[in-house]
Amino acid sequence: MNCQRFEQLVSELARGQMMEAEVRSEALAHSENCEHCLARLRDEEKLTRGLQLLAAEMETLEAPAEMELKLREAYRTRHVAAPVAANSSGNSARSRYWLVAVAAMLLVALTVAGMWWRSEAPQQTVAEKSPLKPVETPIVPADPSGSQESVSPTQPGSQDVQYRAGNEPPKRPTPKVNKRNSVTRKPEAQLANHATNEIATDFMPLGGGDVNAVVLQDGGQIIRVRLRRSELLRFGFPVNMERYNENVKADVLVGVDGLARAIRFVQ
């Protein structure tokens, strides 16, 4: 054992740490023969005693008692809040579930309605072609007062069924007056094949009488026809003599009895 080796062991020796008995005895034997190493050992032992005194002095120290109360309170707050948060998250999860379920049901309902609508559409087309089918939109007389009131669009279906059955046509709201025509058609889209980008005259009664009154009683159907331009003269329209032999388009309003009731010219 030399001083360097002793220096490596002196702390362990002074602290009473476990070491091999032979090494310990050699170190102690060296300190007995070396004054400096003995002093080092004594200093280390004093330091160890000082540290042990300090440790013993502080051994009983604890955090203040109120800290436990604070921590308990914090713990309670945390664990009360946690279940609430868990419940609210559960509620929100359930809410999301129900929202998804309702959305899915709506989607299914809309899909079924769409399929039903598409299956119904061809039947309506057939009905339109039927000679007994009345005009899909009522042809109502122009308001003499000239007031302009809006007309709600007709609902395809129920009113037409009653009309076809020969019942009194349902009462309609006061019609909107067309400035150009004495009769108003709603919706215009239903005459799209005839009226798109077309200019038409007013319906003029054929064979006398009031066309509006006829239509109100019976309803009718509009048929697109071609006439000789010379026919315009019969209704008082000017005719270009150079195009005298040409044809013009006209819509003939045919009553439920199959008789032509009114006509208008279309350009």
């Binding site: 490596q8 000082g50 440790a55 502080m58 800290m67 436990e68 921590l71 914090a74």
Partner: protein, 206 residues
């Protein structure tokens, strides 16, 4: 409640995380003294020690699930958390403290007590106070091994676990820390004597 003191730390932690307040109380009573003392011995301040102790157990409430029993004891885990909080707090306080405060308190105050009272002649209370000041004047990396190994009587293995270093590092740091403490505690005359003795000892190979 009465049976909680028979549970291990790990069982108490599990119960605490499951919402058992009594488990928290038992765990706190069992482990807070070591945490508090460690923080006090590291910082020398009761207010810091209280704050750190509170933070450690709040952390345990919040993040207790991160504790892995396979990696060490809960007591070591708590001391490791306390160490992090203490070092953070000391860094902040060092940044906020006016320049010259540390030197005045640690150097002059300690030196005065040493000059007046060599270690041999100190009364018990004076010895404790002198050693306490000497420990507090150590750099943190030496202070923490002294606090853990000498004052808290934690084994080298656990200390290495707490500090996140090798056992050999713990040994060498402790050795160096004790040497620094002796230097601080030795009166100026003794230091001179020791220096001359060390010169003599260089020739001593008995």
């Amino acid at each position: 409640m009465t049976l909680k003191n028979q549970f291990s730390d790990n069982e108490l932690l599990r119960l605490m995380l499951a919402g058992d307040e009594d488990a928290l109380a038992e765990l706190y009573r069992r482990r807070q003294p070591a945490v508090y003392r460690f923080a006090l011995q590291m910082s020398g301040s009761k207010s810091i020690a209280e704050d750190v102790t509170q933070e450690v157990f709040l952390f345990l409430m919040r993040e207790g699930h991160v504790f892995d029993p396979e990696r060490g004891a809960l007591s070591a885990f708590l001391l490791g958390v306390a160490r992090n909080y203490v070092l953070r707090r000391l860094r902040v306080d060092q940044l906020l403290s006016p320049l010259g405060d540390d030197g005045e308190e640690d150097g002059a105050g300690l030196q005065a007590s040493i000059d007046l009272c060599p270690l041999d002649d100190l009364t018990r209370a004076e010895t404790i106070e002198t050693v306490r000041r000497a420990v507090l004047s150590l750099p943190p990396k030496y202070r923490e091994v002294v606090v853990l190994c000498e004052l808290q009587d934690v084994s080298y293995v656990e200390t290495a676990d707490i500090l996140g270093c090798a056992i050999g590092t713990v040994r060498s740091r402790l050795h160096r820390a004790r040497a620094l403490l002796l230097t601080k505690l030795r009166p100026a005359e003794s230091v001179a004597d020791a220096d001359s003795a060390s010169v003599k000892s260089a020739r001593c190979f008995a």
